[in-house]
């Protein structure tokens, strides 16, 4: 068939209204939504990962309020200590009280409304480990601690590096048979390991939303159709493995982009809901996509958004509050958008980061650390609580391997398992996906009912 009004055609395809027999293999490839059983709206769930690139000084998101914990904090943090924290009252009280960094003020109401939880003292771990074991190397230590790209990979993989590596975001889609449609696996931050599985690759969406393909704009012109046919044939002729990898990708990118454009034409605009930061723009694109979620006919979606700049070796007192303000602003905006869409209970947003940072200062910044805190947001979250373990921010404590690099008391795999279970994985699937869990006496946190 030719490309008569491609947009209408694709729109029909999205809704499953075109006979499969009428389709070329190329169109079939671009239309896999038909292969996925349509999910009822009530069963729909989405996970939104916000990756804080560079290693967030996330211990500085939770500020001790009084007594010994405050003294230890002021002593370790010195000129990087944060004051004027916003007091919060987690369900389980913290000794001496605890507050949020004032730059997180936009999400403080969400914590109080039990739509936001903190996971504290979390990091990459193979098994529980004490300071003595760490020093004596008598228990398993994660490889390449403190290295950006290696630790980012550990968070995205949910396991230690192997000869072939996949991410747990892509893997859970596969385990739930939700990986057949590009619309189930969308990144606003390019290619990433988290969303990559043996049969799952993220669709990298442009954060500005609808992206026309200039060369094919004039889609009704026979000339354009003929050009397109020539180019598609050329892409399919590639034989060199690297060339084929490139042209397969370009070929599906064009098809998927056109499908997404069609879907986004009826998306909510969220006028004046989101601010102008890069992260807000990414989350706006996620919100728009979620507003037309039913058009993809998928039961599960994972989204990946990224925010850089957290490697605050320098000027932390200026940079870190700005970063946290942008983060919390964007999260609060996104929470509002989900309420508007009525998807609060079905969409869970969570943070990951390379690692926490040193409690000690290098003068005006911090260096690569280990344990940290993460944020989880959504209507399904048992919010208003701090899960895990609030590690006292004291140097030379039983948790400090040096300079205030703190040993995690919760494995990031336990954190991931909690999210994966909510998403629909069985306990055995979770254990399979996160192999270190068997070394811990608890496989997950009680973040979800």
């Amino acid at each position: 068939m030719n490309y008569k009004n491609r947009r209408e055609f694709l729109s029909l395809c999205l809704k499953g209204g075109v006979s499969m027999a009428a389709l070329t293999s190329m169109q079939l490839k671009a239309m896999t939504s038909l292969a996925t059983p349509a999910a009822s709206a009530g069963d729909f769930k989405a996970l939104v990962c916000i990756f804080l690139k560079g290693g967030n000084d996330s211990f500085n998101m939770l500020i001790p309020q009084s007594g010994d914990p405050l003294d230890a904090y002021l002593n370790s943090r010195q000129n990087l200590a944060v004051s004027d924290a916003i007091a919060i009252n987690p369900t389980t009280a913290v000794d001496g009280g605890i507050g949020l960094n004032p730059a997180l003020s936009p999400i403080a109401p969400l914590f109080n409304a039990q739509n936001l939880a903190v996971v504290s003292g979390v990091g990459s771990l193979v098994a529980p480990i004490t300071l003595e074991q760490y020093k004596a190397k008598s228990a398993a230590i994660p490889n390449n601690l403190f290295s950006h790209n290696d630790q980012q990979s550990t968070w995205m993989q949910g396991r230690e590096k192997e000869s072939i590596n996949y991410g747990w975001g892509g893997r859970i889609l596969e385990l739930l048979n939700q990986n057949n449609n590009f619309g189930s696996n969308i990144s606003l931050s390019g290619n990433n390991l988290w969303q990559t599985g043996p049969n799952a690759i993220p669709f990298a969406m442009n954060k500005s939303g609808i992206t026309r393909v200039h060369a094919y704009n004039n889609s009704e012109s026979p000339r354009t159709q003929a050009l397109r046919q020539q180019l598609e044939q050329m892409f399919n002729q590639a034989s060199h493995p690297l060339a084929k990898s490139y042209s397969d990708k370009l070929d599906t990118s064009i098809g998927n982009t056109e499908q997404l454009n069609t879907a986004l034409e009826s998306a909510s605009e969220f006028t004046d809901v989101f601010s102008d930061s890069n992260l807000s723009k990414q989350l706006l694109a996620v919100a728009k996509t979620l507003s037309v979620q039913s058009q993809f006919g998928v039961g599960r979606q994972v989204f990946f958004v990224g925010m850089g700049g957290f490697d605050t070796h320098d000027d932390q007192n200026v940079n870190h509050p700005n970063l946290l303000m942008q983060l919390s602003q964007a999260m609060a905006e996104f929470d509002g958008a989900m309420s508007t869409l009525g998807l609060s209970n079905q969409v869970t947003t969570f943070t990951m980061s390379d690692f926490g940072r040193t409690l000690s200062s290098n003068g005006d910044g911090t260096d690569h650390g280990w344990a940290g805190n993460q944020l989880v947001m959504g209507g399904a979250v048992n919010g208003g609580e701090i899960y895990g373990s609030v590690i006292e921010q004291a140097l030379d404590s039983a948790y400090d391997v040096g300079g205030g690099r703190m040993i995690p008391q919760v494995a990031n795999e336990q954190y991931f398992a909690s999210l994966a279970r909510w998403f629909g994985l069985s306990d055995s699937e979770v254990l399979d996906l996160f192999p270190s869990l068997s070394n811990f006496n608890q496989t997950h946190l009680s973040m979800f009912s």
């Binding site: 992206t211 026309r212 200039h214 060199h240 260096d367």
Partner: protein, 630 residues
């Protein structure tokens, strides 16, 4: 051009009485002599004539030529003082040595012989020249391929390495109407240098180095320091064929690097305040700029311990040791430590009061005693890094990946690492020797067998550079204000999102996992970026034709299609496709690709010539065979 012609002449004269000549014969010629010379520099596969000049031999009766040494060349006896030959055009890279002899017999049956030994240099075909220039320039123009055709690879490299440096800093201009230049002005300078520099090999190597020794002004304060950024590029250019140790030192002392990885202004510990030295540069100079995380064999593979695990090159002790080394440095020409000059274009200087007096644990068990000067500590620490056995395979392999192929064989890596260790004269770290070895290696030149996954994906930026160079891209204001390269190309020169570059050398897209091969550049080939590039190429070619746009705005970058349109008009489509075959596909354009281009031209045959050319160029630019640099 030096050494363009080096013909070794070995003359030996044999004048002897052929057939038992009579010494007393009065008619015997006196002092017979013969000289032999070549009509021109001998090159493989190209005809050349041997010419004999005889004197004092008397009346010539017979002339006989024979080949004494070298690959056998068939030739016909001419009985002439001139012998046309065509040396074999075999694929071997090395020059071949030949010896020929002429025997001149006079009417007295006396024979005078003369030999000529000469070297036959390779003469690159246009396709071979194109392949080399795709690897060794930012993207060749047709005229550059023509220039390189007919000379050998060594000659071209040698010519390139001697060209003066085209620096970027002098090209940084202010915005019109502004006091201070900004990021866009150093990007403008990058384009001007990249498009116009004759020293293309140096520019390409420096571009490769900029993706290993990464600094970036994306989303940080360096955005406001375009002179410093351009000067950093000039450091890479300056040392592109120099020594890696000197490059490493100048990079380390660059205030741009000092700002980017925060060792500028880094102070010794203040234990009362729990302040330790900043570990940022200490970590990344090891992980990314010199040795990597794991001990390597000379062929780039990781060494394994008894349990099959990789062996870490350093631990926290070394991080802290090097962090102490990199204390006490701030902007050069500062009034004092607390009043920095903020001069981003001169090397940092040391202030001893802020330099750690403690001992410093380095690699391989070396420990610097406390109390040394900042300068001595730095010098010793950089020596310690530079002399680690990993540097050759670690840096060598990445340079191969940036210039030639994503998946070099271990043997190729080892050959290059060996050259890094010793350039043949006992010098370690000679980048000129390393670059030559990379480009002249049999694996780069494909003189023996071709792996089916050979080559690399071209970086999006370099694709555009080639088209813009070939088509003399420029704006009426002579400005290249490319504001959104990240959207249109997925990369910006010196604008990586982090010190880990736009892509990692070990990136594997999922569909290549089974083959076990990597494709670093595909890390930025995500959907959004691919559509961005697809659109950018289309708008570049179709909407910015210099010959069509009559009243362009000041900064609109236009491409000239005139030369290509002329070929199409005067010589026809096949001639233009022949030209594209060499220029864009190094002579390897497939039949199917050529047919696609014919069909595309046919679709638009009733459009103007410029638009026909534009559509052909767009098709080339997105064709899989062009996107791969073989």
């Amino acid at each position: 051009m030096r050494n363009l012609v080096t013909i070794a002449l070995f003359l030996s004269l044999f004048a002897c009485g052929g057939g038992g000549g009579d010494e007393s014969n009065p008619s015997q010629p006196q002092n017979p002599s013969v000289e032999v010379e070549l009509s021109q520099t001998a090159r493989k596969g190209q005809p050349v004539t041997l010419r004999a000049k005889a004197s004092g031999v008397g009346t010539i009766n017979k002339i006989e030529w024979r080949q004494v040494a070298g690959p056998i060349i068939s030739f016909e006896q001419t009985d002439s003082l001139e012998l046309p030959i065509t040396p074999a055009s075999n694929a071997e890279l090395a020059a071949d040595s030949y010896t020929f002899e002429v025997a001149i017999t006079n009417d007295q049956q006396q024979v005078t012989r003369q030999q000529l030994s000469f070297e036959v240099k390779r003469a690159m075909s246009s396709a071979q020249a194109a392949r080399l220039l795709h690897q060794a320039t930012l993207g060749p123009k047709g005229s550059e391929i023509t220039h390189a055709t007919g000379v050998s690879e060594e000659e071209w490299l040698s010519e390139q390495m001697q060209l003066p440096i085209t620096e970027h800093l002098p090209l940084v201009q202010n915005y019109p109407d502004r006091d201070e230049p900004n990021q866009i002005n150093r990007i403008d300078a990058w384009w001007k240098a990249s498009l116009n520099a004759p020293d293309q090999l140096r520019q390409r190597v420096a571009f490769a180095l900029s993706e290993i020794l990464v600094v970036s002004d994306s989303n940080n304060a360096l955005r406001g320091e375009p002179e410093g950024m351009a000067q950093y590029q000039d450091i890479l250019l300056k040392h592109a064929f120099g020594n890696y140790r000197e490059l490493l030192e100048e990079v380390t002392l660059s205030p741009v690097m000092g700002t980017y990885l925060s060792h500028l202004g880094n102070e010794k510990a203040d234990e009362a305040l729990n302040i330790r030295p900043d570990e940022n540069y200490a970590r990344e100079v090891m992980q990314l700029f010199t040795i990597g995380l794991a001990e390597l064999n000379q062929d780039g593979s990781p060494k394994l311990d008894g349990e099959g695990n990789t062996i870490a090159t350093y631990g926290q002790d070394q991080i802290e040791g090097f962090a102490r080394v990199f204390t006490g440095w701030t902007f050069g020409a500062s009034a004092r430590w607390k009043r920095p000059s903020r001069n981003f274009t001169i090397p940092m200087e040391a202030y001893s009061d802020y330099h750690s007096e403690k001992e410093k644990v380095l690699l391989n068990g070396e420990v610097l005693a406390g109390g040394q000067s900042a300068e001595d500590d730095l010098s010793a620490a950089l020596d310690n890094l530079f002399n680690h056995a990993n540097v050759g395979p670690f840096i060598g392999k990445q340079l191969i990946q940036r210039l030639v192929t994503s998946n070099p064989t271990p043997q190729y890596v080892e050959r290059i690492a060996n050259v890094f260790d010793d350039n043949g004269s006992g010098v370690r770290g000679d980048l000129g020797a390393v670059v030559s070895a990379i480009l002249l290696d049999e694996e780069a030149r494909q003189t023996s067998g071709v792996l089916n996954y050979y080559g690399k994906v071209r970086e999006p930026l370099l694709r555009t550079v080639q088209f813009w160079r070939e088509l003399d891209a420029n704006s009426p204001a002579n400005l290249y204000f490319t504001w959104s390269l990240n959207d249109s190309h997925g990369q910006t020169p010196l604008g990586s999102p982090s010190v880990f570059n736009f892509f990692r050398p070990d990136y594997q897209p999922a569909d290549l996992l089974e083959l076990g091969i990597v494709a670093p550049e595909l890390q930025i080939a995500n959907d959004a970026a691919l559509i961005g590039q697809f659109n950018n190429q289309y708008s570049n070619f179709l909407w910015n034709i210099k010959e069509v746009i009559t009243e362009p705005s000041d900064k609109r970058i236009l491409l000239s299609m005139q030369n290509h349109a002329d070929i199409l008009e005067l010589q026809g489509l096949e001639a233009l496709l022949d030209y594209y075959d060499t220029l864009f596909y190094s002579g390897a354009m497939s039949t199917a690709q050529r047919q696609t281009l014919r069909e595309v031209q046919d679709i638009y045959a009733d459009w103007g010539l410029y638009h026909q050319v534009a559509l052909l160029l767009f098709t080339v630019s997105v064709s899989p065979d062009y996107v791969i640099q073989l």
